[in-house]
Symmetry: C2
Subunit: 511 residues, 2 copies
C-alpha cells in the first residue's frame, strides 16, 4: 500500500517558491469564504513518526489565518475525559461551522497503538475502526468536510529522519523514546496502518497517503489537496442547499396531502397500550414510597461505583413529563442530578453537528442526567414539521443508536420513556391548564398546532421505538392517562435498570 509513498519524490526550492505565493493567497481567500459556509473542515494527520505531521500542521497555521483554525493534539485522557465515553473529548473539540480543525494523535491513535503493542486483537481493532467510520460518517452527513492525511516514511527514511532531528540541538527534544520504540515496531505498525486505512478510507472521509521524506513535497501535496477539497466542497454544499430548498418547498406545498391516511390509521405500537389502567389512593402512595426508597438506595450505590444514569423523557404535550421527572428526582440528592431541558439550540450549538449539544451534557461518573426531550427531536418534531430533510431524519436512527451505544458501552445506565396519553386526555389537560394561573405559560399555540398533526406524530413515535429500542437502551412506553401510574412505572423502570446494571458495576469500575 505504501510503495507509492517511497518513491523519493521531491520538489526543489525554486519550484516550491514559484507556487507558494499563489497557493497561499488562495488558501487565505478560501478561509474567508469558509467563514460564511455551513460546514466545518476537519483535517486529520496520522502516520509514521518523523514524517512531518507536526511540521505540516505548523505550516498550515503559518500560511492560513490561525484565528479560524483550531489545532488539537491528544495525550493521555484527563480524569474528566476518562469518566466519559472515549469520543467525548473529540466531540467537544470539533470545530464549528466555518472553521478548520487540525487534529493530531486523534481518534486513530489509540486503536492503532493498542494493536501495534498487541493490546487488542484484530477483531477489536476492526471494531474500533467501525466506530470511527460511523463517527466520521455522521459528521460528513451533516456537511463536514473531512480530510485525512497519512504521512509515510520508509523504514530507512524514518531512521535517517530521527537521527537527523537528534543531531540538531534545536530539534533534538522532538525525538522521544516512544519514537524509537515505534521505529522498532515499524513492520507491525505498517501492517496495522494498512488495515486501518483500508477499513476507514471512505468517500466521505478518504485517506491520502503522502510521502513525507521531503518537506517541500509533502507540504505542497497537503496544501494543494486542502485547497482543492475546500473549493470543491464549497461548490457542492451550495448545490446541496439548492436541492434541499427545492425539496422543502415541494414538501411544504404538499405536506398535509402527504400524510398517508392509510398508514396513519394502521395500529401503531401505541395503540396496543391499555390506557384505562389506574393507580389510586393508598395503592399509589404505597407503590410510590416503595419505588422511591428503592431508587434512593440504588442510585446511591451507583454513585459510589461511579455508574452514571441517563434518562430520556419524550411524550405528548401535557403528558406529564415535568411532574414525572420531579417525582423521580425527589428520590435523589440535588447535587447528583441535572435536568436538561431541550429547547431550541443555541447559536454555538447550531454551529455544530446536531448531536454535539447532547454530547456536551454527558456527565461525569456517578451522575444522573435527565433529558426533558432529547436527541429524538430529530425523528419526531423535526421530521413531522419538516425542519430537517427526510434523508437527515432517516439516517438519524443509526446515528442515535451509535451515540447511545457509546454511552451504554461506557457503563452508563440508560432508560428512555415515551409518556403516552390519548388525544382526548390531552384536550382535557389543555383546557384545564388554561385555568390554572401558574400553569398558563405551559400552554402555547404550538401545542394546539401539534395536536393537528397527531397522526403524523404517532407514526413517527412508532418508527422511533421500532428503530431505536435496543437491549442496552430500550424504550419504555408509559400509560400516562393516569399520572400516578406513570410516575410509579417510570421510577420502577429506572430502579430495575439500576439493579440489573449494578451487578456488572464492579467490572465497569475496573476499566
Amino acid at each position: 500500500m505504501f510503495e507509492a509513498a517511497e518513491l523519493g519524490r521531491k520538489i526543489s526550492r525554486d519550484e516550491f517558491d514559484a507556487m507558494a505565493p499563489e497557493l497561499r493567497t488562495e488558501l487565505l481567500a478560501l478561509q474567508q469564504q469558509l467563514r460564511q459556509a455551513d460546514f466545518p473542515v476537519i483535517v486529520l494527520f496520522a502516520g509514521v513518526d518523523g514524517a512531518g505531521k507536526n511540521e505540516t500542521v505548523n505550516l498550515i497555521n503559518e500560511w492560513m489565518d490561525p484565528r479560524w483554525i483550531v489545532t488539537r493534539a491528544y495525550g493521555k485522557p484527563s480524569d474528566e475525559e476518562r469518566e466519559r465515553p472515549e469520543f467525548w473529548r473529540y466531540w467537544r473539540d470539533l470545530p464549528p461551522k466555518g472553521k478548520v480543525g487540525l487534529f493530531l494523535s486523534s481518534w486513530y491513535h489509540r486503536p492503532l497503538v493498542d494493536r501495534v503493542y498487541g493490546k487488542t486483537t484484530l477483531a477489536e481493532l476492526d471494531e474500533n475502526l467501525e466506530q470511527i467510520v460511523h463517527f466520521e460518517k455522521a459528521l460528513a452527513d451533516e456537511g463536514a468536510l473531512i480530510l485525512k492525511f497519512w504521512m509515510h516514511l520508509s523504514e530507512k527514511a524514518q531512521k535517517k529522519r530521527l537521527k537527523g532531528l537528534e543531531k540538531d540541538p534545536m530539534t533534538a527534544w522532538q525525538v522521544t523514546k516512544t519514537d524509537w520504540e515505534h521505529y522498532c515496531l515499524y513492520d507491525k505498525f505498517t501492517s496495522a496502518a494498512e488495515r486501518l486505512i483500508m477499513h476507514t478510507s471512505k468517500g466521505h472521509a478518504p485517506w491520502q497517503i503522502v510521502e513525507g521524506a521531503d518537506s517541500r513535497y509533502r507540504s505542497a501535496v497537503v496544501l494543494q489537496a486542502l485547497k482543492d477539497a475546500i473549493t470543491k466542497h464549497l461548490a457542492n454544499r451550495e448545490a446541496v442547499k439548492k436541492v434541499n430548498a427545492e425539496i422543502k418547498g415541494k414538501a411544504a406545498k404538499g405536506k398535509k396531502a402527504a400524510a398517508p391516511d392509510a398508514l396513519v390509521s394502521q395500529p401503531s405500537i401505541l395503540s396496543s397500550l391499555d390506557m384505562t389502567q389506574k393507580l389510586e389512593g393508598p395503592d399509589y402512595t404505597k407503590a410510590l414510597q416503595e419505588q422511591r426508597a428503592r431508587l434512593a438506595h440504588l442510585y446511591h450505590v451507583a454513585k459510589e461505583k461511579g455508574v452514571s444514569t441517563a434518562l430520556v423523557f419524550e411524550g405528548w404535550d401535557a403528558a406529564g413529563k415535568g411532574g414525572t421527572i420531579r417525582r423521580l428526582t425527589n428520590a435523589l440528592n440535588a447535587r447528583d442530578y441535572q435536568v436538561i431541558p431541550i429547547a431550541a439550540p443555541t447559536e454555538e450549538e447550531r454551529a455544530q453537528h446536531y448531536l454535539w449539544r447532547f454530547w456536551r451534557h454527558v456527565a461525569r461518573a456517578g451522575r444522573v442526567t435527565v433529558f426533558d426531550r432529547s436527541w429524538y427531536g430529530r425523528v419526531l418534531v423535526e421530521r413531522v414539521e419538516g425542519f430537517c430533510t427526510e434523508e437527515a431524519w432517516r439516517r438519524a436512527y443509526g446515528e442515535i443508536n451509535d451515540f447511545e451505544e457509546q454511552l451504554t458501552q461506557h457503563g452508563i445506565v440508560m432508560c428512555k420513556f415515551w409518556l403516552h396519553i390519548t388525544s382526548e386526555e390531552q384536550l382535557a389537560r389543555f383546557n384545564s391548564r388554561g385555568q390554572i394561573e401558574y400553569k398558563k405559560w405551559k400552554l402555547t399555540d404550538e401545542d394546539w398546532r401539534n395536536r393537528e398533526s397527531w397522526g403524523l406524530y404517532e407514526q413517527a413515535v412508532n418508527d422511533m421505538v421500532e428503530r431505536t429500542s435496543t437491549s442496552n437502551a430500550p424504550w419504555t412506553l408509559i400509560e400516562a392517562n393516569s399520572k400516578n401510574l406513570a410516575r410509579v412505572k417510570v421510577m420502577r423502570t429506572v430502579a430495575d435498570a439500576l439493579e440489573a446494571a449494578l451487578g456488572k458495576a464492579a467490572k465497569i469500575k475496573k476499566k
Copy 2:
C-alpha cells in the same frame, strides 16, 4: 453572631401546610418571569454539617421547576480544574441569565476548611475572603442576584442531628467521618465562620443566618427569602434598565460634544513613543532568528514544567496584530498554542458576565493562549462607542486586574501588547489594503468609523495602560510603524517574561 440562630424556632406542620401552596405558586410564577430577565440568580448554601443544606436544595428543586435550575456541588478538583486558577471551575458553572444556580460546598468551602484545619493563617483566610468579595462584586455589578444562606446548628443540635441521621438506615449513609471530624472542631469552625461572614456579607451579596434545627422553619425562611429577593431584584433591574437607557440616550445625543478636546490633546503615554525607529535588512533577519530560537527553547521548557502563557494583543486597526501573532506562533508547535480571535460574543456568552467568555479560554497547564483582542474591549471599544455604561467600564479596570491576578498567581505568564501606529501610517495601510485582493476583507466601514474617534481611543488606551499595567501583567507598548521592529520586540518581550518566570517554575510545579 449565631445566638439568634439557636433559639429553637419552629413552624408547625399546619402553619407550614397553610403557607406552602401560595409560596410555591409564587416561586413558580417568578421563575417564569425570571426566564426573560437579564440576570442570573446565584444561591449559596454553607454552614454546619447537618443543618439542612442538602435538604433545602432538594426542596427548592422539588418546589420550583428543576429545568431552569442548575445545582452544583464541589468535591476535590479534577485534574483539568487543578491546572487552572481555583475559580475557573466556579466560572464555568455560573448559571446564565434567567436561570437559578444553587451552589453547595462552593467557593467558601476550601478557605473555611483550610483555616479550621490550621492549614492557613488568619491573614491567608482574609486574603481568600477578599478574593471572594471581588468575585461576587463583579457578578453583582453585572446584575446577578446573589443570596447566601448560612445554615446554623448549635453544637448540641448538631450532635443530635448527626445521631438521628445515623439511626435511620435510609439516611445513615449521609453521615460521613468528615462530618464527625467537623463536629469535633465545632468551636474552631464557628469562629472561622464568624470571620467569614463578617468579611463577606456585603450589600450586593449578604449572608443570611438560618436556624437549621427545624426543617419546616428553615425551609420557610429560605424559600420566603428567595421569593422576596427575586421579586425585589426583578423590579430593581427594570428600574436600572430605564435609567441606563436614559443615560445612553443622552450620551448618544451629545456624544461627540462630550469628547473633551482639551483632554484628548493632552500628551498620552502613546505620544512618548519614538515612532521613527526601524529594523531593516540583515539586522532584522538576525534579530528575528535570535528571538525565535529563544522562544522555541523557552516555551518548550515552560511546557515541560506545566507553565502556561497568556498573550494579549490590542492595537489600532491595521497595526499588524495578525502578522505579529503569526511570526510569534511560528516559533511554537501548533499543538501547544491556540489563537483566540475576540469578536462579538455568542448568544451563550452574552448570557453571562462579560469575563465569562475569557475564563472559558483559560488553557490547561503548559499551553500558550494568544488573544487577538481581549477583555480590554470593555475599556476600549465598548467605552468609546458607548456599548456599555460609564459605570461598567470604570469598574472594569478593577475586575480585569482581579482576573489577571488570578491567572498570574496560578503561575501563568502574561504579556499584554498595545501595537501602536500613527494615524498617518494607518491611513497609508488602509489605502494599500484596499488594493491587495486577499486583504480586502480586512478593511471594513467600521475601520473608517473608528478612525474618526482616534482621540477618544487614544484617551482610552492611555487610561487602560495606566490602570491595568501591573507588575505581574504589564503592558508593553510596541512601536509598530515598523512591522519588523514590532515583531522582534513582541517576541523578545515574551521570551524575557518566560525567562524571568522559569526561575520560579519549580516552585509552581510543587503546588
